[in-house]
Symmetry: C2
Subunit: 277 residues, 2 copies
């Protein structure tokens, strides 16, 4: 493990770390904030959206004041493998920066694009051996990372105590971003896609272990109607009798200014379920 | 005035605006946050450090939660004129991104590098005609912008109700950054430099209108000993009988993570003196 940088913020330690990932076959960089105090602390994992690296959340979300107050470790990984030898696409919504938090089965993506294995297995092992973690963890994310948080939490029972999202891609099988990515990464057989679609998983009751799921959505978000479609998640929750708190906010867009506005409430949501704060 | 972008954050409105500046002879971009509510509000001006644009503070300082709570308008201008036809230097500490908040008298800088006139005159007029301002204002900044905040507040009596700084260049006439910039912008005659040196101004009593000045400095700041030298400001305050609250923080560096940690306390410091909050 290589320490790329270390900075103090709100009395805690913020580090960027780089490690050779077995899951993706590439070096991966993530940030980890450890609050002040001896710990051990629960860990909240943030999954970012299209085009992001570990930096966007770390620099722009304003997360660490509240994380320090609540005693939460916060981890922000990259959104895909990167570098020479990793397949890519000139579009912003496919390839590097657009891993979609699944293990690709199709060429040329399959060798490195294994973000589901990376996030749910390797990253947890690597992080929680490095910091004073107490074995409890939650996951949240934004846009593509909201899709990631919801699907990984539902697909890996018992791994996360709680899940929330900002402006998630609610049903990738029914929006252009998702159809494009799933076709590339999983192939043309749509039956294989449903297991990575938050709304389908939720309709099947896969979120029943969670007493509530918190979703915030800005109504000035330019991707709301064409890509994000939170109403599909709402329908699925209704069908499954799943508690879902979907809050729609007039005036807010898709940016980190929207995220920072409501981030403390998400951290508090997770802290309550993690026994922190 | 051209609106570059508009975003909601913490219930307020964050806009980037671009205008044709008479002072610098170039288009200038700044960000302005207006808190929720009808106002009018006081205005706090942030002056950034070397290499920064209006973006760094706006994206990374995490200022708007507290600004919304306290009812403060927050403005972040650029650090210099920029663009074709503006003199520049390949070094990061001279030319574009390094205006040093003074009006240059020397070639090739004099035509455009007039940041003192821009900040203390034109920007105030432009901003406060555009937003619900109540005529009260304060100034603060970081590093080169800490120098700017201190010198502009002391050189323009009555303009700002309060001043504070993060890791300011305490005495540019006695550090490499300042000597290089002042030589270029003001010429070799060191007598002309003193009027732009916060420590010299303070020693002469130029801060006597301020009941206190708040300075935060990280002790892990790599520029502390060679460039920033806050002890010179402390000596000057002692000599002048000026109240100065200089807080040294173990472990903190020169980054926006340091700034965001103590930013709310600076906003509260100004709000008390602006009758806000």
């Amino acid at each position: 493990m290589e320490q790329v940088s270390a900075t103090m913020v709100f009395g805690g330690a913020l580090r960027f770390l780089k490690h050779a990932s077995k899951a993706t076959g590439m070096p991966m960089v993530f940030s980890v904030f450890v609050p002040p105090g001896p710990g051990p602390f629960p860990v909240v994992y943030w999954l970012s959206g299209l085009t992001c690296t570990a930096n966007n959340f770390t620099e722009k979300a304003g997360a660490y004041r509240t994380a320090a107050e609540l005693g939460l470790i916060v981890v922000a990984p990259d959104t895909s493998p990167r570098g020479e030898g990793v397949a890519d696409d000139p579009a912003y919504d496919l390839g590097q920066g657009a891993g979609f938090y699944l293990d690709a089965t199709e060429a040329p993506w399959a060798p490195h694009f294994r973000m589901e294995s990376y996030i749910t297995d390797e990253l947890i092992a690597v992080v929680e051996a490095e910091v004073p973690a107490n074995g409890r963890r939650s996951v949240f994310g934004h846009s593509m990372g909201g899709h990631g948080a919801l699907t990984l939490a539902m697909r890996h029972k018992g791994l996360y105590r709680s899940v929330s999202a900002f402006a998630p891609i609610a049903s990738p099988t029914r929006c252009p971003w998702g159809v494009k990515a799933f076709t590339a990464y999983l192939g043309a057989d749509r039956d294989k896609w449903r297991a990575h679609d938050a709304s389908h998983l939720m309709a099947e009751g896969a979120a029943r272990d969670f007493d509530d799921i918190l979703i915030d959505q800005g109504l000035a978000d330019s991707f709301l109607v064409g890509q994000l479609r939170p109403e599909l998640l709402e329908e699925a929750a209704r069908a499954a009798g799943q508690k879902l708190t979907l809050r729609r906010h007039a005036g807010y867009d898709h940016s980190y200014y929207f995220i920072q506005t409501f981030l403390s409430e998400h951290l508090a949501f997770h802290a309550r379920r993690l026994g922190a704060g």
